[in-house]
């Protein structure tokens, strides 16, 4: 017995998993470029959110059709991966259907994989139709021009190929299991509610040919899975992994609560403290680098916002519920997330190319990716945050960038400057004297 197959299998497995691991480390390093934010509290509530929202898909089903289809693909993905475990063991040790000893339970297992695979095929075809035939608005939106549109379709094609190979492999196996007098070491194992019908194609085909088909489908299937695993790094499909940490680390406060900038609090307290000495030296240990207010690039965002960017799967539910986008403004919350990821990848590549140090490239997330016009169109209504099936907050990025525009560049629209001057001078956004605040009491 030759061990060439097994060695070859081990090599592609190590290459596939190894390259993926290298890229996962890059993602982690890039996420850590973000500012620190404490999302380690309330562990039980965080686990609960993850269980409900990521594992339980509770926000997906708010849109019932896509939610239901997504659950099929999601359950299919999770369950069929049990089969991948068997394939890996078979591949490494040269066994065939190593879990077959489980008998009736194995039949149930393989039977349910088959049914799920068929359902996944149907769901994925419906997804393709929704994107390319029905052309649902959020899928043909200008955000998705070029690579993002192809990416979405590639993922779906991939799933079709993988599921088809899986069923073809089973069909050939089923055929060989039932060859009268037996064939090699194929023996009845598993039940094949779907592929038994495909197996009829092999009637009258030479056993040797069917065997080659079975082996080819087996190898292509597992190689395909390893390629797909590595494709994740380049794709929006990364959400299948990151949805879990993303829902765990999401903001737990009321959606209306925007963070208070601590650096500002310190300065305001100093201003309001009559005993403060404005000429006093900065206290020991104070940051040598003056804090930048707000964000104009990815390094100014916090690490959860960067995790959000990698997690976004560009479904566009946010954009389709955004009042600004609905009424034709340039703002698209999905684009905010896509731009943030694109810029973060660019910064990461820059670091890789320069031996671990970021060399300024005269580009920033603000202006080169996201324009002030987009930022100023936001009504801060939280519809995007509410809609996101994995609790991403485009709003927090928009707010941090507005802060940069206003506090670092004094670049607010004129009318907002007038409003802020009024608040500063007379304690109201309009030009009314604070002394007149109670006049309404005596007016008729």
């Amino acid at each position: 017995m030759s061990y060439l197959d097994n060695i070859f299998f081990a090599i592609i497995l190590i290459l596939g998993v190894g390259y993926f691991t290298v890229n996962v480390k890059k993602i982690l390093r890039n996420i850590k470029l973000g500012r620190e934010v404490n999302r380690y509290d309330n562990k039980s509530e965080r686990w609960k959110n993850m269980a409900m929202i990521a594992l339980g898909q509770s926000k997906m089903v708010k849109r019932p059709i896509s939610g239901f289809l997504h659950i099929i693909v999601y359950v299919g993905f999770v369950i069929i991966n049990i089969e991948v475990l068997e394939i890996i063991i078979d591949g490494l040790f040269g066994t065939h259907r190593v879990f077959a000893f489980m008998g009736a339970f194995y039949d149930v297992l393989i039977g349910s994989f088959e049914i799920l695979a068929a359902l996944v095929l149907v769901a994925v075809i419906v997804f393709l139709i929704r994107r390319n035939v029905i052309k649902i608005k959020r899928f043909i939106h200008s955000d998705l021009k070029g690579w993002p549109k192809s990416d979405a379709n590639y993922i779906l094609y991939f799933e079709i190929v993988l599921m088809s190979l899986f069923l073809l492999m089973n069909a050939a196996d089923y055929h060989l299991q039932n060859v009268s007098g037996g064939f090699m070491d194929f023996h009845p194992a598993g039940s094949f509610p779907i592929s038994q019908y495909i197996a009829t194609l092999f009637d009258g085909v030479a056993n040797g040919t069917v065997y080659i088909i079975e082996r080819a489908a087996w190898w292509l299937h597992i190689t395909g899975i390893l390629i797909f695993l590595n494709y994740l790094y380049f794709s929006k499909h990364l959400h299948i992994l990151l949805a879990f940490p993303n829902t765990y680390f999401a903001d737990l406060n009321s959606k209306g609560q925007f963070d208070n900038l601590e650096s500002v609090t310190n300065e305001v307290k100093l201003m309001m403290d009559p005993n403060a000495d404005p000429f006093a030296a900065a206290p020991a240990g104070a940051d040598a680098v003056p804090a930048k207010f707000g964000a104009n690039d990815v390094q100014d965002l916090n690490w959860v916002q960067l995790l959000n960017a990698y997690t976004c799967t560009e479904c566009g539910r946010c954009t389709s519920s955004c009042p600004a986008n609905i009424t034709g403004k340039k703002l698209s919350p999905r684009k905010i997330m896509m731009d943030t990821r694109d810029r973060l990848v660019e910064v990461g590549n820059n670091i890789d190319a320069n031996k671990g140090v970021f060399v300024p490239d005269n580009k920033t997330l603000l202006n080169d990716y996201i324009t002030p016009e987009e930022l100023w169109a936001c009504t801060s209504c939280n519809a995007c945050v509410e809609e996101c099936p994995v609790n991403i907050s485009p709003l927090s990025i928009i707010m941090d960038m507005r802060r940069y525009l206003v506090m670092e560049q004094s670049a607010a629209p004129m009318s907002l400057n007038a409003m802020m001057t009024n608040v500063e001078n007379n304690g109201a956004p309009w030009q009314y004297s604070q002394q007149d605040r109670l006049n309404w009491k005596n007016e008729n």
Binding site: P323, T327, T379, C381, A383, V406, M419, M420, R437, L438
Partner: protein, 263 residues
């Protein structure tokens, strides 16, 4: 109708050595905007009728800083917040009610970290509690059987998950509460939030308030109820734009209750 409103200030209360049950935070719109002042007065009439001991800050009140914060001016926001907190803490305020969801959200969520910890409730929640305690009775009056749709203010609904209090109050009027296709957590913004109230909209193909008004009109309401002075303005403008102001009124929930009782 021109009964005299009893509106004590915190300063007056303090001079008498009294602490009110609740501090009414009027807000800038409620103090200065002609339309919103009517909401303020309607709410005060109900408070007076229910013998609620309340007080306002009057000339000691200042903008919460909400529009500055949403516009990105964290400095101005925190300056306003700390000045207001100093005043509120000096009066030992415990419970605050406001008819503005923006003031409500800011006072409730963003002041505590800066040293201002109060129980903050929206006026619809407060009215609901008065109702539950038997201190307020609601009659349908002119609104009995009317079709009323409620627009969820973003900073009351999605931002703070208050959806039921205003609806329960409307139902107490024996009115027919009809929901828009986008309501509660899926409600569409009126277009005023995030400091949009104070600037022109970016180029687009429609105004947000028109889009939202169309949602409301689809329910064929006689009254569009709101719980926010800014939403009220936006929807009133929307109804005017559709030339429906003769048939459809935009009213605050407090006005509905006060008007039903001819207060």
């Amino acid at each position: 109708m021109s009964e005299i409103l009893n509106v004590p200030t915190m300063a007056e209360m303090l001079a008498e050595g009294k602490q009110p049950e609740v501090l009414f935070w009027v807000g800038c719109a409620g103090s200065f905007d002609d339309r919103a002042k009517k909401i303020t007065k309607a709410f005060v009439k109900i408070l007076n009728r229910s013998n609620v001991s309340f007080a306002v800050l009057g000339t000691e009140e200042s903008c919460t800083g909400d529009p500055a914060k949403r516009a990105g001016n964290e400095f101005l926001f925190q300056m306003q917040a700390m000045m207001n907190i100093e005043v509120l803490n000096a009066y030992e305020a415990k419970k605050i009610v406001t008819a503005c969801p923006h003031c409500f959200n800011t006072l409730k969520n963003e002041y505590p970290e800066l040293g201002g910890k109060y129980e903050v409730i929206h006026h619809t929640q407060f009215l609901k509690s008065l109702l539950d305690d038997g201190r307020l009775t609601i009659e349908g009056g002119q609104f009995k059987g009317k079709r009323i749709t409620f627009h969820d203010p973003c900073y009351l609904g999605r931002a703070n998950n208050v959806y039921e209090a205003p609806r329960e109050l409307i139902q107490k009027l024996d009115a027919e509460l009809v929901e828009m296709k986008r309501s509660k957590a899926n409600g569409l913004c009126c277009g005023a939030g995030g400091a949009q109230m104070f600037k022109d909209a970016e180029p687009g193909n429609k105004e947000v308030n028109i889009e939202r008004t169309e949602d409301a009109l689809q329910t064929q309401p006689q009254v569009i109820a709101a719980g926010c002075p800014f939403c009220n303005t936006m929807l009133t403008d929307g109804v005017k734009n559709k030339e429906k102001e003769g048939e459809i009124k935009v009213m605050d929930v407090a006005e509905l209750i006060a008007n039903a009782q001819d207060l």
